[in-house]
Symmetry: C2
């Protein structure tokens, strides 16, 4: 009686597919629309600050506002991405629906006044809280809710960076260090895809990056093979440094948070102090390059992620300053993601290391871009795919070498303290 | 005392990396060289048969020779890929070192006399047995032996298809259905890379495939978005069919084996009968297209994997005949891999479905190529990467949709009976 069994198996698979498609398409479209709104507001805030640089002086005040917004309305939403990861591992506590609007507004405020932060955290939290809300409406059980929450991460991540496949793998890979389980494979893919398409349909464009200065392919004659071997060694050395930078970033953010909680009895004093330090640093450095997102230049010649892909497009210590700026911004209670600053730290560190190692600048900027992120979030496979989605397949092997190496060197913990450990790193 | 702890962590990581690099480079170089020899012999055998088509009539005799070779010298090597997967899950039984030369010679014999089979099984078995041999020399403990065996699979797979990244992920993904563990992440990557580079260094070239007939990107205006949505639906329908073809292939091979063992008391009668059926089928069909590997054409206009990427490059039932030919060849004791026939079945089925669904031929051939393989081996992520490594990043999302869908639809078992189940499919 093998045949009927097989057909009933396939019938249940078809039901499973249809069911999840029907559930996920509206959720992911809603998340994609929220992300589109967020990206539009973010861009408006950043450009408004470019026109009104004095807004930076209000950063401490903005911090106090964010602090009280979370204190009054936030409840558990303060835990951010970790709350969503926790809820997937151990469903029950729930994800408050206010998390979405709160993180949206506070991230835009952070950027409007010049705080150095990212956007993936915002997208993931909007995705998670909206997925949870829809899941409650659909009366999903706890297993289904986990799948939907994972898909919500995929939708948010895929939408915010225009990388649906990376979003899919990231959502499954970020939960546990050292392993991927295929519980939510197709739901995540549908979510990543719909999230990305929705953002595009709203007319939002993503930044394009290019690698243009590596002429030799990996295959070729013996001379090329030797040159490639040398390049590979340089990539491994640089990637170990990328991994250490990931670790430094995670530890700096945690340390800032810890020290501030010890020093200040009044919670609202922490963002005031953080804001003041950011203002002071910007005075000392004399440049606003390390404020806010770092994708578009505030003035011609500013160091941005895009400029880091060109020769002399970053200073020797740009990566260090961005690390400090972001650790202070996020460690003192301002809101936003970590990933775009990690891109910035990686790309500028790649630029610096390319100079030291006499290596192709745009390639090393690209490797740093994905590898520092891979190390900090423990998602080497998603980041390899991100390299492929953003920069093309030609260097996929280098992307894997960089991400896997940085992952190994980035230490036992990452920026998400709620990650479980499946397989230890060595 | 956080600092010294961190440095000692990194020192142990560095030691781990150096240790595995030193172990794996010679192993993977040896495996790569063996694969290069194999590919060279295989090509020679295939071309010799093209010049001497009467060799097909000796296929039953060749089958008897293979049968007695395994009966006299084979011991546990008969279990093939499953033996290596078993040994990784439960070390102890060992992998006989004769497995490498035995599978090499018998695969070349199978192809010389026209049996329909592949090459990845051969490469993986050579990789596994050589890794085990080196592991014994290096006196590795059982955990290290597992890592080295996994890396051996990566080296063999990466070398035989020229896809190092796919080899890396395949080796980790094939062990357990529904999950990947990062136990052997960097060792596998080093192995895949060195295996691939070694084959290139020996001057062996891999077949290049191209997708050339899809003009619209995924991003664009609303009209394009609708067109893309329609294309996506077609891809999902086709991929469900690819998954069913994977299942049909796995079941056909198992059934042929089972029926033969029931029918024949004398073991050597099985390959004789298998050889005669292949000869009879080739008479009836009147074409040698479905014999052997199916990559190079025996005569101008023959259906090959390459021709399946072009309009009218395959017959409506080419996929079906290749499925039957291969199930009989491998089910009656001839040797070789399953993957290249799976590529053939997928590419020709993609060609047929493109005609039915009015879809781009070369894209659907490419999707079938990777998706039938993904379904049969339960490695959707590795196959997505294979699509990217072979055909470029432009369609990476389609590759993922095809491989994930085929994976879901391919049933609970695959061609490797030793795979464990980590996460069930629905």
């Amino acid at each position: 009686m093998a045949k009927p069994k097989i057909f009933s198996d396939h019938f249940s698979i078809l039901k499973y597919l249809l069911r999840w498609t029907v559930i996920i398409v509206p959720v992911a479209a809603a998340i994609g629309s929220a992300v589109a709104l967020f990206l539009w507001l973010l861009s408006a805030a950043i450009h408004y600050r470019f026109g009104h640089p004095w807004l930076l002086y209000l950063l401490p005040v903005a911090g106090v506002a964010i602090h009280f917004a979370y204190r009054l309305y936030g409840s558990s939403a303060e835990k951010g991405n970790n709350l969503i990861i926790d809820e997937i591992h151990e469903p029950g506590a729930g994800v408050p629906k206010r998390m979405g609007p709160l993180i949206l507004v506070t991230t835009v405020i952070t950027h409007l006044f010049g705080g150095s932060a990212g956007r993936e955290g915002t997208a993931v939290q909007m995705g998670g809280s909206m997925a949870h809300l829809f899941g409650t409406w659909f009366k999903l059980d706890s297993t289904q809710m986990r799948t939907l929450l994972t898909a919500g991460i995929a939708a948010g991540f895929g939408a915010v960076f225009g990388t649906p496949l990376t979003g899919t793998i990231f959502a499954m890979e970020v939960l546990t260090i050292g392993q991927i389980k295929y519980d939510a494979l197709l739901p995540c893919l549908i979510a990543g895809l719909v999230g990305d398409v929705t953002v595009s349909a709203w007319g939002i464009k993503h930044t394009a990056y290019h690698i243009d200065d590596v002429s030799a392919g990996l295959h070729g004659n013996a001379g090329n093979t030797l040159m490639m071997l040398l390049l590979l060694v340089k990539i491994i050395v640089a990637s170990a440094a990328f991994g250490l930078a990931s670790m430094a970033f995670a530890q700096a953010t945690h340390s800032v948070k810890k020290i501030c909680t010890q020093w200040f009895k009044q919670g609202w004093m922490i963002p005031v102090c953080g804001g003041i330090v950011i203002i002071a640093l910007t005075w000392i450095i004399g440049k606003p390059d390390y404020l806010s997102l770092g994708v578009e230049p505030e003035y011609p010649g500013a160091v941005t992620i895009v400029s880091a892909f060109t020769h002399n497009g970053a200073y020797f210590f740009s990566w260090f300053w961005k690390l400090i700026y972001t650790a202070i911004t996020l460690g003192t209670g301002f809101k936003g993601g970590e990933v775009t600053p990690l891109f910035y730290i990686g790309a500028t560190l790649g630029n610096t290391l390319a100079g030291i190692l006499n290596a192709p600048v745009s390639l090393f900027a690209a490797l740093g871009f994905i590898a520092v992120f891979a190390g900090a979030t423990n998602t080497p496979l998603a980041c390899t795919l991100m390299g492929i989605e953003l920069f093309g397949a030609e260097y996929s092997l280098f992307f894997a070498v960089a991400c896997f190496t940085a992952y190994i060197f980035s230490g036992k913990a990452g920026i998400y303290s709620s990650q479980r450990t499946g397989v230890s790193k060595s």
